[in-house]
């Protein structure tokens, strides 16, 4: 047991290290450096200002020295200072981590709950209208690009029927207590979460449908029916629980993909999360912030994988004892 945990931790640390080193080198390949971006922001600059900016952030040192310094600091938990915003990277990221987790968790929760329900519904009568409808809908949902869905929702709900706010996370003009604030955030969350959730909802409903159909053909289902278990019980307890396994595995594996999907959705809806920050930081050649975000998202993915492992064991006790 302990051995397995140590092994997994070791994997995690080397994965983070590899992500940091690889991305540090990759981002250096992009032409231009932060000094050029800052000069652009300032409407021009002279040689002294440019040199001062490069010296201030250590950009005048050799690349390997920069990498060494960065890793040294990172291992001590210091992710450096954002070149662009001139604030500690950790502070910048922590202020954006909450919104991203909220968005991703809501989208994933929505996709899982609604998606599996739809999948179940479709599996009840695989040749019925409901099933066909779910299949068609999920096909559309799956093949429509996230940014397109987002833009369509923006046009529909921002301009045609202005029901939901289309940008940001809070209405800064609105004043009020914590409840007003929470409702305001929930109101702002609807469209981005829907956009991000739709793609995965489509996948999970298809997966659940297929998986249910497979499980429903299994011998133990026939046994359950034969011993007089109600159809509802067969569906919800016997079949669904087993059919959920592949869905949970896929959902866990997709956590990383969802975070990258969040980059697009956050950009479309100006959601103040890690995705928007990542996008802006890459454009600004803000190396420490980009690396910091990658560090955090690697961490999140690792944690998500551990959680998936755990949930799978809960659902299927056979997995726990096996190894």
């Amino acid at each position: 047991m302990y051995q397995r945990i140590t092994k997994q931790l070791l994997y995690a640390v080397s994965l983070i290290l590899a992500v940091l080193v690889l991305n540090f080198l990759l981002i250096q390949l992009a032409p231009g450096d932060p000094a050029e971006v800052i000069a652009g922001e300032m409407g021009g600059a002279n040689a002294e200002v440019m040199a001062a900016i490069r010296a201030q952030y250590g950009l005048d040192k050799p690349l390997l020295t920069q990498l060494g310094l960065y890793l040294g600091h990172a291992l001590q938990g210091d992710l450096g200072t954002s070149y662009f915003y001139n604030r500690p990277v950790v502070e910048l990221i922590l202020s954006r981590l909450g919104p991203t987790l909220l968005l991703v968790a809501t989208a994933l929760g929505f996709a899982l709950i609604v998606g599996t329900r739809l999948g179940m519904l479709a599996s009840r009568n695989p040749r019925g209208i409901a099933s066909a409808l779910v299949t068609v809908l999920s096909l559309i949902g799956y093949s429509a690009p996230v940014f397109w869905t987002g833009l369509m929702l923006v046009i529909l709900f921002g301009a045609t029927i202005p029901l939901f706010p289309i940008a940001g996370m809070i209405d800064v003009v609105k004043q009020g207590g914590p409840l007003v604030r929470a409702l305001d955030i929930a109101h702002h969350l609807v469209l981005p979460a829907l956009t991000l959730g739709l793609v995965y909802l489509a996948q999970y409903s298809r997966l659940t449908r297929a998986s249910m159909l497979e499980v429903l053909g299994a011998d133990y289902i026939r046994t359950a029916r034969a011993k007089g278990v109600s159809e509802r019980q067969v569906f919800n307890r016997h079949a669904f629980r087993n059919a959920l396994l592949p869905v949970v595995t896929v959902a866990g594996m997709q956590f990383g993909a969802i975070i990258s999907g969040a980059v697009l959705v956050e950009t479309v809806f100006s959601w103040p999360g890690l995705g928007t920050l990542a996008f802006q930081s890459i454009l600004a050649r803000d190396y420490p912030t980009v690396l910091g975000i990658l560090f955090f998202s690697t961490l999140i993915v690792i944690i998500a994988n551990l959680l998936t492992d755990f949930v799978s064991r809960l659902l299927d006790p056979r997995l726990a004892g096996g190894r």
Partner: protein
């Protein structure tokens, strides 16, 4: 308050150069002023921090002009007006400027604003501001008493008054910022204690800036608004949607003519092109004069004759941009109409190319054009048009896209280009925004918006330098006119159009910011009709 609306509509329709009065004429309606309310401004700019003494550019200037007072301010013309300085005068030889400060002015922490703070702030700007030519001629700053500021210059420096205005030299509290830290990376730049009409209470990078009325502001009764919220949007479309849904009330620096036309037609918004004389944004085609083909004057002239500015301003920019023919914009006091403007003449273009050995019978001229990414109508569309226009003159042009700004900046500043679309601002006075593009001494590899054309003409250098130290305005104008004539004759740059920046605001917004600095000026007189 339908008057200002009618004015700006008429301005747009006729394109006349009237309407200098919106900002200054409004005290007539002073009795109508309704105080209070929150103004939400849609913005696409993302400031790094809010200390404009060490960070130039639009993004920082807009909030900084609200947070910090400056010694002088400007209305809709280029006449300086008192602000933190109540009065000022030059010595007889124009090398000493003495300013008297407003009494009783305080910083947002309640401490008095003294001459010591002012000269310390000016010194910070002199040492750190990216536009080093602004205060370069200054020898010494003096504070003989708490209300008097003395600026001593090596030679006359007529641009100094403009330099002391909004957006360029904010007055910082010395007791706060003089703490031994490098001012460029001082964490206090994020939420600075200021001297202007509004104090900043929140700054969430990439999201919003909240500015609250400062009750102790030294101009009695101002500002009129309780709060200004600058909300950052990802793109112009979402900013305009926010205006239409009532989420925001004002959107300055909008340059998408498609969106401007749409808002104009909607009739619920007021659209004005006033407020950009100070920025003086010019969209142009720059030549790498060291390129073997483009080093030939005839080739550069041929390019210019083959490009139809009218097509750009009328077809590409829906008639909303004005043609540019020289380094400064038409609203600049130094605009000189009598320069070679290279009006469209395809035959002349072909003849010049043939003379230079290209076209029929000679070699086909092949060139590459770059443009600043993410500026659709002004840059990419014009580059594509230039490709098509030059094809008619027998020149093969390939358009090279850059994935993002730093990539473009690196290519241009390392001279890896034949010609490029570019966008450069005048910043009010040629000393700040014009000289840098043409002076031989400013050919500096690695610096974007320096003389990347690598153009050098000693006559131009002499004229620009003379104009910079000429105190007599008429003589100064004449020197610039001579310089601009020479520059357009040498054509290191072909001027295409003025960037059609517009400010869009809802009917509730009164006294919109239309001074020469627009939203980069203090908005203490803006109010909302309830």
């Amino acid at each position: 308050m339908t008057l200002s609306f009618a004015f700006s509509r008429r301005f747009l329709l006729t394109g006349a150069v009237a309407l200098t009065a919106v900002g200054t004429a409004l005290p007539i309606f002073a009795q109508d002023v309704q105080k209070g309310g929150t103004l939400v401004m849609a913005s696409l700019q993302k400031p790094r921090h809010l200390n404009a003494a060490v960070q130039s550019g639009l993004a920082t200037a807009v909030p900084a002009a609200q947070i910090f007072a400056t010694l002088l301010r400007y209305g809709a013309d280029f006449e300086p007006q008192p602000y933190l300085a109540e009065s000022w005068e030059f010595s007889d030889d124009n090398t000493v400027l003495t300013l008297k400060l407003h009494s009783g002015a305080t910083f947002h922490d309640g401490q008095p604003i003294t001459a010591t703070d002012v000269i310390w702030s000016l010194d910070v700007a002199k040492q750190n501001h990216p536009f080093s030519s602004m205060l370069e001629p200054v020898e010494a700053f003096g504070a003989p008493d708490p209300q008097t500021v003395v600026i001593r210059m090596k030679q006359p420096h007529p641009a100094i008054l403009l330099v002391l205005s909004s957006a360029l030299t904010p007055v910082l509290p010395k007791h706060v910022f003089d703490d031994g830290q490098d001012i460029k990376s001082n964490p206090k730049n994020n939420l600075p204690i200021g001297s202007g009409p509004f104090k900043v209470t929140a700054f969430e990078p990439g999201q919003h800036i909240i500015l609250e009325r400062y009750d102790g502001f030294f101009l009695e009764g101002k500002p009129y608004l309780d709060r200004i919220i600058i909300r950052q949007y990802q793109d112009a479309n979402s900013g305009v949607l926010a205006l239409e849904s009532g989420e925001a009330q004002i959107f300055p620096l909008l340059d998408s003519t498609r969106l401007i036309r749409r808002l104009e037609k909607s009739g619920t918004m007021t659209v004005t092109d006033q407020g950009y004389a100070g920025i003086g944004p010019v969209n142009w085609l720059a030549f790498n004069t060291k390129n073997s083909a483009l080093s030939d004057l005839r080739v550069r002239q041929a390019m210019a004759y083959a490009i139809d500015r009218n097509f750009v301003t009328k077809a590409l920019h829906s008639g909303l941009s004005k043609p540019a023919i020289e380094p400064v914009v038409q609203d600049s006091i130094f605009f000189a109409p009598d320069v070679e403007s290279y009006d469209f003449d395809l035959d002349k273009a072909k003849a010049l190319l043939a003379e230079a050995g290209y076209g029929e019978g000679g070699n086909t001229l092949q060139l590459r054009i770059d443009y600043i990414p993410d500026i659709e109508e002004q840059q990419r569309a014009v580059a594509e048009y230039i490709k098509a226009a030059l094809a008619k003159a027998g020149v093969e042009v390939t358009v090279r896209a850059s994935p993002d700004f730093p990539t473009w900046a690196q290519r241009i500043s390392s001279y890896d280009f034949d010609m490029t679309m570019d966008q450069v601002f005048n910043w009010g006075d040629p000393v700040i925004g014009v000289n840098r593009t043409y002076l031989c001494s400013n050919i500096r590899e690695g610096i974007i918006w320096s003389n990347t054309q690598q153009y050098c003409n000693e006559t131009v250098d002499r004229l620009l330098n003379q104009a910079g130290v000429e105190p007599d305005l008429a003589k100064r104008k004449d020197l610039y006119a001579q310089a601009f004539r020479q520059i357009t004759a040498d054509i290191p740059i072909h001027f295409i159009n003025q960037v059609p920046y517009h400010t869009v605001y809802s009917q509730a917004v009164q006294n919109p910011p239309v001074s020469i600095w627009g939203a980069m000026g203090p908005m203490d007189e803006v109010w909302l009709k309830q």
